[in-house]
Each structure stands twice: as C-alpha cells, then as structure tokens.
Symmetry: C2
Subunit: 449 residues, 2 copies
C-alpha cells in the first residue's frame, strides 16, 4: 500500500482544499440553508474523480448516490451525509463557522467532523487508489443523505425504493474518532432516538406577572411535568421505558471492560470535577454505551433577554432527546411518554415527535470488521478500540441491519472534535491518516473471505 | 367643575397628541434605549404648561421633578415613571409598539397604560385647571422616575437626598384601571418584589447530546431545583417564606368581599377555563391580593430555535419573580432562597438579585382617599371599587409610607390594558375621563380637612 500512501501524501494539499471548499458551503438542514448547492457540489466532486453520480429525489432533501466500478465480486458502501447542525451559539466560535480556518494543525468548521471530513476522506481514498492502481478491486457505493441532522426523515423511503442501489457486502458508517490516547475507535452500532418537543400553553397572551397569583403558569407546569420524567438519580420514570432494554451478555461486558474511555481527559476538557452520580470505570462505560437517556436539549419560556421583565409566560417549550438502546422502539417510547403525561395530569401538554430512529448493533465478528481492524494496525500502528455501540445516533438500522448488511464506523474525528458545538474541528494529520485507512480497507476487504 | 371639564373636552385632540408623542419615543430602561431623550421630552412638557422642571441625576437614570405653585397650604404629589418594559415578543403586536396607533377608540403602544397615559393625563389636568381658573388651589409636585420597570434601583437614594422635594400631604400613585364592568378601581397598596435570576452551569461548552449519558445537564439540575421551590399545589417551600405574612383583619376580609373581580370576563379574555387550583370567590381574591407568589418569568437553556438540535446545554437560566405582601422583607426572602438552594444540594446554582422592593399599604380612611372616592362618583357616575392592595409592585413604601405620606392609586387603564404584554392599550375616552378625575381631585383635596 505504500505506493497509494505516498500518492495521498503528495496530494495532501489538494484533499485539504476539497474539504475546505465543502465546509465553506453551509448546509443546515434544520434551516433549509444551502442544501441544493451542497448536494450539487458533492455530486460534482464524485464525477470529477471518475464516479457515476446522481441526485435522487426524496420527499425531503435529495440523496446523492455515487458509484465507482460495477463489475467486481464484492461491494463496499459508504454512508455519509452532506447536511450539518446549526452553528449557533455563533458568538462562542473563535473563527467563523463556515470559514474552515486552519490553526495549529486543525481545521475548524461546522460539519468538518460531522460529517464532511469523513465524506471527503473517503472520496479522496477512492481517488488515490484508482489513480495509483488504475482501478478499484471492488465495487464502491456512496449513499450521502441530506437529512441526518434532522433525523433522516426520508431515508427509509429511499432505501425501500432503491434496494438494489444500497445492497452491499459491508458498509463503512459515517463517523469515527480517535481516543484521547491517539488510538482509533471502531464502532459497531448506534443508539436510537426519540426526539420530541413538549409544548405547554397557558393564557392566550403573555401578561403582567402580577396576574400569576391566580393564572396558571405554563413554565411551572412544564417544570413539574419534566420532574415526573426523570429524577436526580438519573432514573427515567416512564412506565415500561426500560422493558425492552436488552440484557448484557458476558461478551458485552468483556468488550466494555477493554473499551478505552479516558475519564481524566474528558473531565479536564469539559472543565468538570466528576461524571453524573460520581460514576467511573465499568459502571460509567456501561451507562455511556448501554443505557438509554432522557436529555433536555433546549427549554424556552417567557422573557429571556437582557435585564428583568415581569411577565407571566403564555407558553413553555422543551426539546427532549431520548437516546435508545437495543431493543427499544422509538415509536413505542413516544406512546409511553404520551401515556405518562396523560396519567400524571398533563394531558394538555402537546408532544410533537421530530425524530424516530431505531437502535442498531452489528456483531463484532465479520469480514468487514476484520479488515477494519487489520488495516487500522497497519495505518495507525496500534490496535483499535472496539466500541460495541456508539452513544450517538444514526439511521444504521434502516440502511444496514434491517437488510442484512454489516456496518462498522471509523473516521477522522478525535475525542475533542466538538461535534454539534462551537469550534468543531479535526486535525489535518488525522484527516490524511483517515484517507490512508479507507484506501487500505478497500484493498483488504476485496480479498477477505 | 363643569367649566374645567368643558375645557378638557375642547382640548381633547391636543391631550391625545401629547400622549402619542410621548409613546412614540421609546424609553426601555432594561436596554438603555431612548432614556435621555424621553427625560428631556417630559421636562419640556412640564415647562411648556407653566411648571418648574428639572432633571435630577441619580446613580442611574435621572428623575424628572416638576413643581406647580408653591405658596399654598396643601401639597399633592404625583408619582409616575417615564420608562417602559421591553416590547418583545414584537411579532405578536398588531401595530408597531411605538406607533401609538389609534384603532376603534383605543391607543396601542408600549407604555401607553404603564405609565405614559397616566403621566400625560395628570399633566393635562394641571394644564386645564390652571388655564380655566388662572392657577391651582394647592401645590402640585411630580416625581417621575426612569427606573420603575427595572426595580426603581435608585429611588431610595433620590428620596433620601431630596426629602423636602418629595414631602406632600398625599400622593396619587402611578397606575389605575377600570374593572370589566366599567367601574373605577382605587388601590391603597402594592406588593413587594424579590426578582432573581438563577444560573446553573454545566460543562464549559455545549456538546453533542450523546454525552448526556454521563455528563450532568444544567437544564435538568435547574428543573429539579425549581421543583423544590414550588409544587403544583401553589405552595412555596422555602423555609420561613410565609413567616412574616401579616394575618388578615376582619376589615381586610370585608374590603376583599366587597372588592370587584370579574372572574368570567378575566377567564374569557385570557382564553382560560379556570383559575389556579380551581379557585373562585373570596379565596381567589384573597390569593390575588394577600398572597405572595413565585413566578417563572423566563427560562432559557440550550437550543431553542427552529427544528431539532441534539445538544447537551452548558448553562440554564431562569428569571424568578417573588411578589411579596406585608410584612415580608425582600432582602430576607433572597437570603432564605439562597439557604434553600444550599440545603437542597444546589449550592452551585448562582442567584443574582435584580430587584428588591418592600410591600406597602395605606389605611383606607384618609383625606386623599375621601377626595378620590367622592370625585370618582362625580366623574364616573358610580362608586369606585376599593382595592386594599394591588397585586402589582412599585416603590410606594420608599416614597410614601416610609415617610408618612398616604398614597392612593387611580388611573386611565382598563382591565384588558395588556401591561407588559403585546398590544398594550388604553381607551381614548378613559384617558379623557382620567384627566377630568385628576382635575376634580386637585380641587377637592385642596379644601378637605
């Protein structure tokens, strides 16, 4: 592989330019900003490096589908997305979120880690391998959707309508990180999600807060309702919530025991003294990987500007994100939540479903996993950390497990990449290393049985 | 008085223009918008109608002090303010908040009810009375501050430094309303206030919500902390909170029993089915007038924009307004709140004090009260409703009760004036009637023993 690796090093600046160009094009799905332009740009890049590409319409944003070679025995697919999270709070960024500025060996941009760095690294790997070897040893497919950050609303519809396009012998999933110690993580699953907004309404107008002695306050009602959902012991009190959480096997525990999680670096990075409930070691890792969550992502009511304003709010809204583990069903969780609110005297609180994603896991022993691990040792020089499931979420079940495709996730981020947060970044060297790793996987997976 | 009333009717359009001009000048103290311009405008108006006026500096916004006549036996003072609340949410206004548009007999503007309508009505009354009678039968003083909506932060300093300027035999307080049945309210006190912002901090940055399994969420912590403060039964659980609440005398109950509160109109106006705890009748009025409150005026954490964003917030903030009744002490309440948070495991939550206002009450039987009631019957044709205390707040204690001045509050608002809320308004006819009422009080109070 040294010939391909050398080629990648010589084209280093070009591949960085690809990434910067893509990051400088905003593509915020939640706000419908720059989506068509970005899809077109990605389609153009695939064509430029010799692939067949098309934008395939869905009921939402189009999927960019790309294909390289089509006469080989084996097929490897890549799942990525061209949309990014909103960039606010923009005042906390040290450089503009869409400037893709390089400082101290890192590229800073909204989406550079999630997910544009991985997308261009994979395209660069295909480009380099083809250029050096005159072709690819297996068929390569790219499924690049535009709605991952808003819950992959139409991916199931796409997969069902284009089953032959997504069929593959293995899929490299969209994300991946280095641990604090520099070793690579390989993930074999994702948590599911039930993302909901709760809306509590009071009077038909905001009013002077002197009325609050006798008029109900929707902010208080929402606080009381939330308090019935989860208590400071981190227990979620929705009846039936934990019923389908799969028991852990001895292997699950063993993998968890060997999984790296650098507690000290994590606490230091985030300026914290301890984790929730003072957890550490195996129980901490078990909570991170195998336990579902109920997270307040946003709360808004009344006057939140400068200074004081004495108002009684007319509405209160909370955005809640439940991360689910096998075999929880997001639709069932939503029904249980609705029933919980009804039974606790909060039938008036509206629950608006946003995202419903099933959790997913691939067994650790399969051909693609073996290729990923073997080539990781070759490129990174150390054994990768195996993560049975990522605490993050994605539509892996719809695109992979549901139709029998093994999925493994590796990528160019690091443990402080600040996904979804200000100053999102990746290291330039990790990016180049990631390109080499994908090139090596392409070669290795082609000859694996 | 018919001569003065006729003069007021003839000058109706002029007095409306005064009010519109003042409303078109924004004066948002919380945001330091237009404060100097407004103080100058008010000072100019007093001079234009023949008074002595000066802007007196404080450590905050200046007080505009005005004086008419100074050789009479008796002195009547007026307390008003030239600052207004912020106008947001501006999208809920049917006309621009500073346009002072007249529609269907009402003037709509931020501050028109609170407090610019009362301010110009009182100046208009002085103008009309002086014009018709060639002078005033008593000394008149205006104390017009610029910080009422941000808690009258420097009024105590002003009163202490200018005791002789504020001395009077009676004070007409800043606000007043008509009930839903068209009768006039006269108030004899105000609730106090302890306004606080609570800030709960988590990690040093917002992060991807997949971390929420193991990293503490400041939004959840603030929700749990708030839940310990007040429960759905409306009981406030801060130890010692109710200790200084004065017991009600038989007279207090009797006045309350006679006090008008139109439950049906209030519920209908605000689109509600019931009051808190399903209260009605005397218990409802008792809660409104004699019970302290704890109100969430604003709550902000994490992502509150359009669509979904899966973040773990780094901070959560709530603005809390405690309305206090005699003899609660706002400074003591703040100390009790701090102790409560500490004792319930929330020592890390910062409590920022904004406003500390003492509650105040004037006995119902005094010369000014008799003048107000007698002239109200003359102008409005019906007996006014006596309100032993308003559920609203103001610095009455500092300017009146503390230095022995009886205070009564009447004004030109109505029960649906939307103070502090979108579409704040007063009826043009109420404004003109209010001018007549003040003119009549000036004559009547001058001859009262």
């Amino acid at each position: 592989m040294q010939d391909v690796f050398d080629y990648i090093e010589r084209h280093r600046d070009e591949y960085i330019r690809w990434l910067q160009a893509l990051c400088r094009q905003p593509s915020v799905a939640a706000q419908n900003r720059g989506m068509a332009e970005t899809a077109k740009m990605v389609e153009g890049l695939i064509r430029e490096i010799g692939g067949h590409a098309k934008r395939i319409d869905t009921s939402g944003y189009p999927v960019v589908y790309g294909e390289f070679a089509n006469d080989k025995k084996k097929t490897l697919s890549f799942y990525n997305h061209y949309d990014v999270q909103p960039e606010d709070p923009v005042e906390l960024w040290d450089s503009p979120p869409f400037a893709a500025e390089i400082r101290d060996g890192r590229i800073y941009a909204r989406g550079v880690a999630d997910n544009k760095g991985n997308l261009t690294a994979r395209l660069a790997a295909v480009h380099a391998y083809s250029a050096v070897r005159g072709g690819l040893p297996l068929n390569v497919k790219f499924v690049i959707e535009g709605e991952e950050e808003i819950g992959s609303l139409h991916l199931r519809e796409f997969v069902d309508a284009h089953r032959e396009l997504v069929q593959a012998d293995g899929c490299i999933w969209e994300f991946g990180y280095k641990n604090a110690d520099g070793s690579l993580q390989a993930s074999f699953g994702v948590k599911g999600m039930c993302y909901v907004e709760l809306v509590c309404r009071g009077a038909n107008t905001e009013m002077h807060s002197s009325h609050a002695a006798v008029i109900e306050n929707p902010a208080w009602r929402l606080i009381w309702a939330l308090n019935t959902l989860k208590t400071p012991d981190e227990r979620i009190h929705i009846k039936g919530f934990y019923d389908k959480v799969a028991a852990l096997s001895e292997t699950d525990i063993e993998v968890l025991r060997q999984m790296d999680y650098d507690e000290e670096s994590t606490l230091e990075k985030f300026g914290l003294d301890s984790f929730v409930l003072g957890l550490s070691g195996l129980p901490l890792k078990e909570k991170l990987i195998y336990q579902p969550t109920c997270t307040v992502c946003g709360f808004q009511s009344g006057y939140t500007g400068q200074g004081k304003k004495t108002v009684l709010p007319s509405e209160a809204r909370v955005k809640l994100d439940f991360r689910l583990v096998p075999d929880q069903d997001p639709f069932e969780i939503f029904r249980l939540l609705r029933r919980h609110l009804d039974e606790h005297g909060f039938a008036d609180i509206e629950a608006i479903p946003y995202t419903m994603t099933y959790p997913a896991r691939t067994p650790l022993d399969n051909a693609l996993a073996r290729s990923v691990v073997r080539t990781a040792k070759q490129v990174y020089g150390t054994e990768p950390t195996l993560k049975p499931m990522s605490p993050a979420t994605g539509p892996m079940y719809i695109l992979c497990q549901r139709i029998g495709i093994p999925a493994v996730s590796v990528g160019v981020g690091h443990f402080a990449s600040n996904n979804h947060a200000p100053n999102e970044n990746i290291a330039v060297d990790d990016y180049i290393q990631g390109i080499k790793h994908i090139a090596a996987i392409i070669e290795d997976f082609a000859i694996q049985e």
